[in-house]
């Protein structure tokens, strides 16, 4: 069966520091991968998605970036975090467009 792992679970970072969140999927090949952000009391906002290694599509311009160095690895990064980057970040995968997306446990990011 397929599983998705996301870490760390919680992270507290100072403003201006770098960020690296990692997500890996097991049990499937060539998944579609997604990064979402969920602000308090709001729905999910798609940040990036990837349909293959090295292929990244950005939905929202900001100081975050994503990379997919391996088929089942998706990384969310920032060179300098802003206070507005605080939130709950979720990684997800799907086998095809419009198939259900399966989510990781999320990372709660707090910026001080």
């Amino acid at each position: 069966s397929q599983t998705i792992h996301q870490w760390p679970a919680t992270l507290v970072q100072p403003v201006g520091s770098p960020l690296s969140l990692e997500c890996t999927v097991e049990g499937t090949s060539n998944p579609n991968l997604y990064w979402y952000r969920q602000a308090a009391g709001r729905g999910l906002q798609l940040l990036f998605y990837s349909v293959g290694i090295g292929q990244i599509s950005s939905e929202v311009p900001q100081n975050l970036s994503a990379s997919r160095p391996q088929d089942r690895q998706f990384i969310l990064s920032s060179k300098k975090l802003l206070l507005s980057d605080s939130g709950f970040y979720l990684c997800a995968w799907s086998s095809q467009p419009n198939q259900p997306q399966h989510f990781g446990d999320g990372t709660r990011l707090s910026i001080l």
Binding site: N32, G43, L44, S94, P97, N98, H102, D105, G106, R108
Partner: protein, 115 residues
């Protein structure tokens, strides 16, 4: 652009009773997919149920069922025999049938289950 509206920020239900969560969406497409996701306090997003727009039959998963009204662009979730473990945020989501990778989520409904 598609929009998804969940008009009930919070709902409550007595244990063992039935509750219906509302969702409406706006689209000009004829082919699309709809989902309900559950997010318990642990924050993990869990797929509850999926509906293809071309199917007239309402989807059902155990105690969870939907009332899909395509003409009205309505997609409500009915939870029967509510259990304490059903307490969570519930999100309605829309996926385009045109091969789009993006899901558009509503802002969610917080469901409380009263023992």
């Amino acid at each position: 652009a598609q929009t998804v509206t969940q008009s009930q920020p919070e709902m409550s239900v007595q244990e063992a009773e039935t509750v219906t969560l509302s969702c409406t969406y706006d689209t000009s497409e004829s082919d699309y997919y709809l989902f309900w996701y559950k997010q318990p306090p642990s924050r993990q997003m869990i797929l509850v149920i999926r509906q293809e727009a071309y199917k007239q039959q309402n989807a059902t998963e155990n105690r969870f069922s939907v009332n899909f009204q395509k003409a009205a662009k309505s997609f409500s979730l009915k939870i029967s025999d509510s259990q304490l473990g059903d307490a969570a945020m519930y999100f309605c989501a829309y996926g385009s049938g045109a091969g789009s990778y993006q899901l558009t989520f509503g802002k969610g409904t917080k469901l409380s289950v009263i023992p």
